[in-house]
């Protein structure tokens, strides 16, 4: 067996035999589910908590002809007492009311002069609601003053359901499914992000541990630093893939088990719903449409791009993480190097959020899907949006070429850094190590 293979096997076996790995593999998905469940619960609770205690009492002071009376909104109940601002402030301090809305007529037809007084700061959502509710009231009042019935006007509005289709070269029309594509792209990008950080830092800790244990000097007397680094990177990648496969198997087993157990009951329930509401049910239509869109996605291409950039991204970043681990002498040394190395990855995720969804073929999204440090995230998010094979190939060649160059540089840092102890290395030191011949 070659040296990389021996290192690979040691890394893989020692990690998967570890009790903490076994425990994390078994309970990891449940912890993740608990985490997301918790987030959803907190989100829901936050919305519900604003509704506790009923709508806030708002008293309108001042004078503005267009807003003599305001109807209630979701969180506010309005009243106009006709009292002046100073006397109403006393009521606010007593706690009889929650908010004073002082509206002054500046004679410009503008609501810029509205001031809201409250003893406790209003939330962003409440501020937004107040503003939009006043605007709506003003709009309706103006319509009425023009002799128009606002309700009649509202009823004239008609919803339009837009079905976006993309035409292929052969003229076949396909569902655009933009939302679904964005969702699929983001899930994949997030998985890559998670994997790189989780397992890249495992590579880094492994290199640091070997250095602090002083075992590395013995190893590199028999194994070239490049072989040690590659064996470690690939071994940890195999550990991650094993963990993913176990999770997929657990997920598949869970779904199969649930569908066998609850499947017949769900089928019966669906039939009952259909017979009661007819096939035109809104929810059912949405589900069928989503299912159709899901099937229309180019899965072969998406999975290929995912695997290609997933591996390329992991290899590129883990070689950098390995070099950091080899350069550092202790855990605290790592922090200053971690930030600049991990920043492009975080930036890639931001670009994907800000730009790819708005314009998947725009220049910003396109360029960042070529830059090797961001392409593992950005190209994967773009991949469901009909990116050409030429673009994918070009970006992949750039990514893998950068990986090879980076491994060469990282191996030089690794080779010299492994034998340097004590003083915390600086960026200048790293540069000198790269330039040093051996």
């Amino acid at each position: 067996m070659n040296k990389i293979g021996i290192i690979f096997r040691r890394e893989y076996l020692s990690r998967i035999r570890n009790k903490s790995f076994i425990v994390m593999t078994l309970i990891g998905p449940f912890l993740l589910a608990l985490f997301y469940g918790g987030m959803i619960w907190v989100g829901t609770e936050a919305v519900n908590s604003t509704e506790d205690g009923g709508p806030k009492k708002v008293t309108i002071t001042g004078q503005y002809p267009g807003l003599t009376s305001v109807g209630p909104s979701e969180s506010f109940a309005f009243q106009n007492t006709g009292n002046d601002l100073e006397s109403t402030k006393a009521l606010l301090n007593e706690g009889s009311i929650d908010v004073i809305l002082d509206i002054q007529d500046l004679g410009q037809g503008s609501l810029d002069s509205v001031t809201a007084y409250s003893t406790q700061s209003l939330s962003l959502r409440q501020e937004r609601e107040l503003r939009s509710h006043l605007e709506l009231q003003l709009h309706r009042n103006q319509l009425q003053s023009m002799g128009l019935d606002p309700l009649a006007l509202d009823s004239l509005r008609q919803g339009v359901e837009l079905h976006c289709q993309t035409l292929s070269d052969t003229g076949d029309a396909q569902n655009s499914a933009t939302t679904l594509k964005s969702g699929v792209g983001f899930v994949m990008a997030f998985l890559i992000y998670l994997f790189i950080f989780l397992y890249g830092s495992m590579v880094m800790r492994g290199a640091l541990e070997e250095k602090t244990n002083r075992i590395v000097e013995v190893i590199i007397s028999s194994v070239r630093p490049f072989e040690l680094m590659m064996g470690k990177i690939l071994g940890v990648a195999a550990v991650g893939l094993t963990q993913f496969l176990v999770w997929i198997a657990m997920g598949a087993g869970l779904i199969t088990g649930l569908s066998r157990f609850f499947g017949p009951q769900m089928q019966q329930g669906l039939q009952n719903t259909q017979s009661m509401q007819g096939s035109g049910s809104q929810a059912l239509q949405t589900s069928i449409s989503l299912w159709d869109q899901f099937h229309s996605l180019p899965f072969g291409k998406i999975i290929f791009v995912f695997v290609l950039f997933f591996l390329g991204g992991y290899l590129l970043y883990s070689s950098l993480f390995a070099a950091i681990g080899a350069a550092a002498s202790q855990d605290t040394d790592v922090q200053s190097f971690m930030l600049p190395v991990s920043l492009p990855l975080v930036f890639g995720l931001l670009i994907a959020q800000a730009s790819v969804i708005q314009a998947p073929h725009g220049s910003l999204a396109t360029w960042f899907s070529y830059i090797p440090l961001t392409s593992p995230i950005v190209m994967v998010v773009r991949s469901p949006f009909d990116v050409s094979w030429l673009e994918i190939a070009g970006s992949a060649i750039l990514l893998y070429s950068t990986f090879i160059a980076m491994v060469y540089l990282a191996a030089k840092i690794y080779r010299i850094g492994l034998l340097k102890y004590g003083k915390k290395p600086t960026w200048k030191d790293l540069y000198l190590w790269i330039r040093q011949s051996n």
């Binding site: 021996i6 244990n213 002083r214 075992i215 000097e217 590199i220 034998l419």
Partner: protein
């Protein structure tokens, strides 16, 4: 054939020259001691021999060929700072190190069994297992369960498990208790007798004199003395002779007279309790003159040339060079 040959090897880190024009030959079946104060460049030199770092100038040849990484398979290197994988079992570690040095798994298993027996390490594996070393892997102790001395023994075993032609040891005896130090010393001598070349650095002069066929003393990266241990000692012979007379049969005024003798270097009591007087001899005042002087004074119980020990040579040479 010479196992390792260094020819004018130099190495610089930044502005600091850590090895300066060092040449040496290490022959099969010999032990070469590398001496020098802290920071003299011993570890750097050993690392260059072990292919970990490369010289900036000069050449290193292994069995007549320019030294390259692949030669490391035929070397065993034990650094001064020891280290093994804490959570890995004893047998797993041995298998790993044997394999990265080119042994097949089955060869490694045979060697492990034999060496563990010799180094009295068999109780580190569960003896109830009788199904071969492969099944014992899971049952052997982990490094974190071993004492420091046991871990040192394991480290030494990891260094020699693949039967290297050249053994490079940086301070091999540090950390061992006397019993285990003797055990390691015996193994080193055995390996030497089997033809293995050994080079090691140490601060313990007793090891140098009793173990080493050749020595190199380096200071500030450059060699001060080199050669056969006895030849190096002889080369530093300054014409000093030690003379001791039986305390009960000595002419009463002789000791006092000798203390005023112009050729007296020093006087001291030896472990047997006799006064020893050390004289400087040369062509004018020969050893024969000294012997005659002694025999006239009483019964001579000790008369010998004083050849400086490696320890004396080390201390004097390093101090005088550092004062220059």
């Amino acid at each position: 054939m010479t196992i390792l040959e260094l020819d004018s090897v130099s190495k610089t880190y930044g502005s600091q020259v850590v090895s300066k024009e060092i040449s040496m030959r290490i022959e099969p079946g010999t032990i070469h001691g590398l001496l020098g104060p802290n920071g003299a460049g011993k570890t750097t030199l050993l690392r260059m021999m072990a292919t970990i770092t490369k010289p900036d100038s000069g050449h290193i040849c292994f069995l007549g060929e320019p030294l390259v990484d692949v030669h490391a398979h035929q070397m065993g290197y034990m650094p001064e700072e020891r280290g093994l994988y804490k959570r890995m079992s004893v047998v797993d570690q041995l298998l790993f190190f044997a394999e990265i040095r080119g042994l097949s798994r089955s060869e490694a298993q045979g060697e492990i069994r034999q060496w563990m027996h010799r180094l009295q390490m068999t109780d580190w594996i569960n003896s109830s297992s009788t199904q071969g070393i492969k099944n014992r892997v899971k049952q052997s102790k982990k490094l974190e369960e071993l004492s420091k001395g046991m871990a040192q023994k394991l480290q030494f075993l990891c260094t020699i498990i693949h039967k290297p032609k050249l053994l490079i040891l940086d301070e091999p005896f540090s950390g061992f208790d006397p019993v285990n130090a003797d055990l390691i010393r015996d193994i080193i001598l055995d390996l030497k007798n089997q033809g293995t070349a050994v080079v090691f650095s140490t601060h313990r002069m007793d090891n140098i004199e009793s173990l080493c066929d050749d020595i190199t003393l380096i200071n500030q990266g450059a060699p001060l003395f080199q050669g056969k241990t006895m030849e190096v000692r002889r080369s530093q012979f300054a014409g000093h002779y030690d003379l001791a007379i039986d305390e009960d049969q000595v002419e009463p005024e002789a000791p006092q007279r000798w203390l005023q003798h112009s050729r007296l270097v020093r006087a001291f009591k030896n472990p047997e309790g006799n006064w020893v007087h050390r004289f400087q001899c040369d062509a004018e005042f020969s050893s024969q003159h000294l012997l005659k002087l002694g025999s006239e004074a009483g019964r001579i119980v000790h008369f010998a040339e004083h050849i400086p020990s490696i320890h004396d040579i080390f201390v004097q040479s390093v101090q005088s060079q550092n004062h220059e």
